[in-house]
Symmetry: C2
Subunit: 275 residues, 2 copies
């Protein structure tokens, strides 16, 4: 059988490769290059600008760890905002909770359209009556909106490229303004092995902005280094106290033990200033 090989460099001289059965889609949107491959090993794989964003096989690691630590730490989340997340995976996890509303703000309408077609296991919830979809620049949206949220999830791409703004201080200042009292933000923060200096600098300003600004970790096998970093931000809620409410059933990765374990940072990522 003919196979198509594609690869992502994780360093200038190493990375991951896949042998795909088919290229299902390749197009340039106004924002990015989008490709979808069908693979035997990982199911369908979505790449944006050549970087693996999600695979059917291992997307649960990422989406569960982006969403559940924040959602289970909030005593009663009613209204949830997702910035990015056009593949629908974070929204699917959010709607496991009895919330009142969720709003997903994705800059690239084509990501949503394409994932609804090619990733039915992720994009399960775009038609849910508790889900509203807005195609807009998330960074602009949070500066201008009067809406307030209990939980905000930032499901962005990496801190390099078009999503870079979603990793900077001004963005988090604006984001904080959108939180209700007791609110929580969780954001993907990049690869601890490859973005370590960036993470150290970011922690400095996040700790000035929030009483609790804590990195946490989880595996994502197809992301660079296989280990991924997220950040939990709140003025009132310390996530190390553990899940406050029932954890949804039938998850694949997250549970209460994992929640506690995820905040245990390795030596190389410890906040030296707190010792």
């Amino acid at each position: 059988m003919k196979t198509i090989e594609f690869r992502e460099f994780h360093t200038p001289a190493s990375g991951i490769f896949f042998r795909a059965k088919r290229l299902l889609l390749s197009e340039k949107t106004p924002f990015q290059k989008m490709e979808i491959y069908e693979t035997a090993s990982h199911g369908r794989v979505l790449l944006l600008d050549g970087l693996v964003q999600t695979t059917e096989k291992d997307e649960f690691f990422y989406h569960e760890m982006l969403v559940h630590p924040a959602m289970t730490s909030h005593p009663r989340p009613r209204d949830v905002l997702i910035i990015g997340g056009g593949d629908g995976g974070a929204l699917r996890e959010v709607l496991r909770y009895p919330i009142r509303s969720s709003l997903l703000v994705e800059i690239d309408a084509r990501v949503i359209e394409v994932c609804r077609k090619y990733f039915p296991g992720l994009a399960t919830s775009f038609g849910n009556k508790r889900a509203e979809i807005l195609v807009d620049d998330g960074s602009r949206f949070i500066r201008e909106t009067d809406l307030r949220f209990d939980v905000v999830l930032v499901d962005s791409s990496d801190p390099v490229g078009p999503s870079a703004v979603l990793h900077q201080k001004a963005f988090y200042v604006a984001l904080k303004r959108c939180l209700r009292p007791g609110g929580i933000i969780a954001a993907q923060a990049g690869a601890p092995l490859f973005h370590l200096e960036h993470l150290r600098k970011k922690r400095l300003f996040l700790k000035m902005l929030f009483s609790f600004a804590l990195y946490y970790l989880g595996p994502v096998p197809t992301y660079p280094g296989g280990l991924w970093c997220y950040v939990f931000l709140s003025d009132q809620v310390d996530p190390r106290k553990g899940p406050r409410k029932n954890v949804p059933r039938k998850l694949k990765y997250y549970n209460a033990d994992v929640h506690h374990g995820a905040f245990a940072l390795p030596e190389f990522l410890k906040d030296r200033r707190r010792r």
Copy 2:
């Protein structure tokens, strides 16, 4: 500059690739094919039978997590046995403790010789006066020896190929006989994502043999899936109580928080029978 590309398949259709600056060594020993590459991204990389065993950049994840959970859980480890571990990384970590003796039993003398030459950062301890090296079949050694140990570390290759015997029940029965009362075994157990069925079956017999038979996890970026599984075995010591003694200073990954977090198993690896 000319580069040499090498790769390891993690599934039949995906894997990791490296662009090396030089092939430093390639030889067939009586036991396996051994290759060492010099890379820009990961320093020197050792492959046995085509599988990445260790890289200078990320070996600390594996060696720290194989050694320290067992060593810190034992109240007073005096004599330590290492099965395999010819690269010297596990021995280096063991000798951070004030033990009386360590014995390393490696089947392939060439691995030791070659790592002493090419991996000086790992093979630091072969000349240590508290370290004895024995070139022998570890499986046979533990069946025949009268020596008893406080901690036994199994630093084997994967559960497929020449190390398969080191993952079977008869091996663990023999290993248990080599433990002093209060003794602890830690062994590498493979990739949870790729050897899940194997891990589930292995847990069944390990729980029959030991009062405490617990899997724990840690990242190893260049191993399949980036997430690695180890097993902690003891009749007296529950590692979830945490480190009993001072954790060595200047580690890169392991600390007391990480110790607790490592035993927090994700949903897909939980022992269903204990719920």
